[in-house]
Point group: C2
Chain length 110, copies 2
Amino acid sequence: MNLLSNRFEVPYYAVIFTSQRTTGDQGYGQMADQMESMGRDQAGFLGIESYRESSGAGVTISYWKTLEDIRHWKSNPAHQIAQDKGKQTWYQSYSVKICKVERAYDFENM
Amino acid sequence: MNLLSNRFEVPYYAVIFTSQRTTGDQGYGQMADQMESMGRDQAGFLGIESYRESSGAGVTISYWKTLEDIRHWKSNPAHQIAQDKGKQTWYQSYSVKICKVERAYDFENM
């Protein structure tokens, strides 16, 4: 998702996924790429942005048209396998917040 | 804000501030620290988390009890000076999203 992404009409929805990775890749990178690619093909997908620091702390925020779209992607069988692997192996801890985006605006320095 | 932060009763509010920094510090670090410190003292402040990658792309998410608390901090005179300086100097671009957190849950790998 481009930084200047507020081209969607509010309200839409955001999933804020804050996480602390365990050490070592252990197949995480490949699965993350695969899940992002699959996520982009889901109904109602609007965008995604990810940031991770060298400490292993990071956040992924995905944007969706409706809560139903979020539920649908959460219950996708391949995504569920990835979620299980995340709990077993890739994440020390995580926090999920489901949010309704009520207002959005951008600034660009020309 | 601790990663496992979902100790607040929903609904509460999140401000997702995604930004692309310009190059060089130019007083940014000091002002960011000062604003975070002031923000923590505001009415309705719940927490803050920040991630920035070496590319200069990053996100700060702050959490608040009410929309009124967010408006109040946005209009704080010292914060307004920082916002102006941000537009003039520190940010190539940014995007602000005001969100209502409707559901939140955590996972911790024991």
